[in-house]
Symmetry: D5
Subunit: 140 residues, 10 copies
């Protein structure tokens, strides 16, 4: 059974680019062996992550991530059984904020600043689809 899980969380402290690279490197080390793929967004102290893969490994990894003290207050945004992955090409793709069309956040949010805690799962899914199709994801 394949699933897709999307959550948001708040960084527990200011993250340097180096800190973020650490998380991504670690993810790209672990995920292929577990058949996990996905995307990671980080900006202004907020993470949004998509995890896809078998139901058991995604849950096991999510449990680890939830306990990671580099962030707090994770909230699930969506979780579904899926029949095919959407991000099969990324062991953990990174959203490149410099490639973002600035109007895109306003299209889905109440202000120019993304606040996943005020958005429904469906709206975040629509935003992520536009990120992928507009080429804003970096492979490694």
């Amino acid at each position: 059974m394949l699933v897709r899980l999307v959550y948001a969380s708040r960084a527990s402290r200011e993250l340097s680019p180096q800190d973020l690279q650490d998380i991504l490197r670690r993810s790209r080390d672990h995920n292929p062996a577990e058949g996990i793929t996905g995307l990671l967004w980080y900006n202004d102290g907020v993470f949004i992550q998509v995890l896809e893969g078998g139901r058991d490994p995604v849950n096991a990894r999510y449990k680890r991530i939830v306990m990671d003290n580099r962030h707090d207050a994770p909230i699930l945004l969506t979780y579904q059984e899926i029949s095919e992955r959407r991000y099969a090409g990324w062991s953990m793709g990174q959203v490149n904020l410099h490639r973002l069309n600035p109007g895109l956040l306003l299209k889905y949010g109440e202000t120019q600043k993304l606040d996943p805690y005020r958005m429904s799962g469906a709206m975040l899914t629509a935003l992520f689809d536009e990120l992928v199709s507009s080429g804003a994801i970096e492979c490694a």
Copy 2:
């Protein structure tokens, strides 16, 4: 929660181009801070305006606009919770009447003169969609 609100009103007196520019300038000053976007149509003493944004700021602004004595008899045409904005690119776009195909008004109305008080919200929405797609909106 994002909403879209469309209303019509009657100017309480003849408006000069200058008067209209004042309203638009004011709107473009206020709206970005409140995350509000939209369109304004003015012709022959009739206003039609679309306001998009967070539910609270749109309602607060609409309350101010309703009390503005430059127009009377505002009537709501449509009001909906939306999952994405349609006019995210305009802090307050202006419909340029010189770019209008004259047959367009006849397509949706009983005569060549637009009378929003006799039209349903759905027909006005269709008309506004044609305005945008035919390039009749001015940015600033």
Copy 3:
């Protein structure tokens, strides 16, 4: 409220091209002021006419037309409240029979001769849509 009305009738006597031009000229004089648009087909002693516009003026004009003794036995084919006109560009367009693909009538009718008294309103609507899209309507 916008409506579209389609009817058919039989000319009460043989019509000359001049007679037909009189009807069209009269229609193009009256209809713009009343916000009425439409099409007129005449062939072999049969009229089919589409009238679009506000509900009241279309009914008022139809009452006059029904009483016109140049034709008899008018039958309504369709009548609907519509949200947009289909023939907004013609104050009264004329179907040019020389531009008709001869197979078109057979496509919708039992024989090559159009007999609206044996056809449903839906089939006549489909035929008229093909007339417009194949450029068989003359503007004036």
Copy 4:
């Protein structure tokens, strides 16, 4: 081909109960031979009538009724090809206003007084369906 036609009109002068009985008697004399069935509403100077039957006889009769000078300004409310009648049991049923639940008019109208000139055909159809199902029709 069966059709159902609904129209409204304004009595050209105050009608006495006797006048109304004359119209109904005449209708019940003519309609059976032509296969026409339907309902008639009269109140406060406004008629609403439903006519069902073959397409030709309904149109022929409607042409006569439109020219009757006991009323003016008839407007078609709906006209459809139908696959079965709804009022097959009444050669011309009369709406008994004393059996009307007074709230019924408010349910579909803007005020307690029925004004068909401001109502869509669909709303009038819904109102007539409630009249039949609440037993407000008199047989003869």
Copy 5:
């Protein structure tokens, strides 16, 4: 054109039962003449009101209500063109809080205390439908 408008607001000060009766009495005086019907909920400093009727009178009344300083921060919850009223029987019905099943609020809300500012229009509509069908509305 009939519309239904639902809004919520916060009382600007503590309201006594007498204050509430004043608002209701006033509403029942005005609304019948304007063809307005609806419901009013008041509890814990929060109003929720449904207004149904013609588009023009509902908008005119809503403009007055918005400017009433007995409450602040009105937000529209839903606004629709409707083909029939749902509350035709109440010139302004009052929700009787003593007849409320206490679990009802939890069914639609995040806690036992109703907070319309955190609820979508659709959820409030569902709640109001249950209020009516469970007999929690008082007539006068």
Copy 6:
């Protein structure tokens, strides 16, 4: 925003009835204050739990539950934004296994023994709906 979350897990050791009562008592102490409602199933070393409530408190509580060492390997079965709760009446209802029709498990599972790790979220939801409607839930 209301959500419903369903997960399964394996007890890390044999649980006595007393152990289970401890979990339930604790749940019924905490959940009302957080607006959380739901059901708990325990049998043969397997837990299945439904949690309903506001998105933030459900996620916060789920994070605590996942870290509880009385069980391991929690897997999310379903997670959805909902517009109304299904179990508003239970701060934490307990499935009474003695009231279970023994054929019920076979209806949805491959064998008579429930193994949520081999079942889709949709099938578990259907099973839980039958539990509620067949009266197999104990209130406290």
Copy 7:
């Protein structure tokens, strides 16, 4: 493959009750062996018959019936592949005209006299369904 075939025809001469009994007796002799079931209507010189069964035997029998000189001008009304019969209980049921509600014909036809040559297959199907459900079919 099961099919259902409905046709109408005109008796070539006046039929006595005896003539009709002959046709029915013959049908009830032949049809069971071929797995054919159905209904026969006769009135005023018009036959309507429904034949159900395997595609080959129904076609073979229909070919014989078409060539029977007791009737002329057979026209197919409907013909469909079906997944179950509707008249499995009648080797050839007869419509008993004395049990017919006289309004039934008017409900589907333009006049009180059934004329299948002017009716669509769908309307005749609806009429036959009412015949069966109103108990107007005789078994033998």
Copy 8:
């Protein structure tokens, strides 16, 4: 009323090309006057024919064809009331077997040899649509 009728039959004896030309010539002589259009397939002793036109002439012609002793065992494949013809351009088009893609028969049939007696009407319709769109029909 327009109908489309498709049937299959078996040639009662080996047909020469000349025999087939006779049938086609005869068809092209008769059909235009009756407003009939269609297609004829002949191969390996099997005919499949589509006839379109008014309900009465199609039935009259089909009765003649069924009685023609050049073929036996005709079975109806489909018969429908249609709102437009599909083969309006052919008084009787002939399927040119040399233009057939040999895989086409396998796509719809159990073997490479077309056996309409084992195929449903819907599959034959799909096959004929591919014949037309792949240009395998000869005009005369």
Copy 9:
């Protein structure tokens, strides 16, 4: 994953009631341990069997059954992944032919004798549903 498999076969020789009881007894011995449930029909030398359960055990058992020389020419009628069983109550229910309404077979078949080799899977499914709901299944 649960599946439902339906097949038909021909008994390779005349079966005595004793032979049939042997098959059923054997089935009821094996099936519970493998979580298999279903129905068996036997009449006139034809078997039809429904098998429900986990995908692996159903396939394993079907492989054994196919090789059983008490029958030949098994053909699969339907095979689906299901979300719930329909025959959870029968380890292998037997269709009691004496409780069968004789018209039932005619309803779905071309003749009174059931020939699954000429029926689609969907029609057999409909027949089996009627068998269950009409109480024609014996438990053991």
Copy 10:
């Protein structure tokens, strides 16, 4: 009746390219005469095969294949009555693993290694459709 059957199995021993060619050669010898078409996948000890054709020959061939001791534990993945074949062009096409995009397996599976025993029939169907459309099938 056409059907499509998909199954998976495990090779009972390591297969050499020669062994595989034997199976394919044998298939291409037998299948055309029986009207069977399809695809065969072999990798890492796992077979997946699609068989299309008449219901009887596909079942007869599948019975033979199931008993072939070059593989074990065949499980049906899907089986359907179809109205047209998808692989009419291949008497038995072979999936060329060297032409496979390596990400394709991850898109539908939990890991990079295809395990049909853990996948639903629908997901395997989607994977095979991508194989065909990406040109990964070899003809002979």
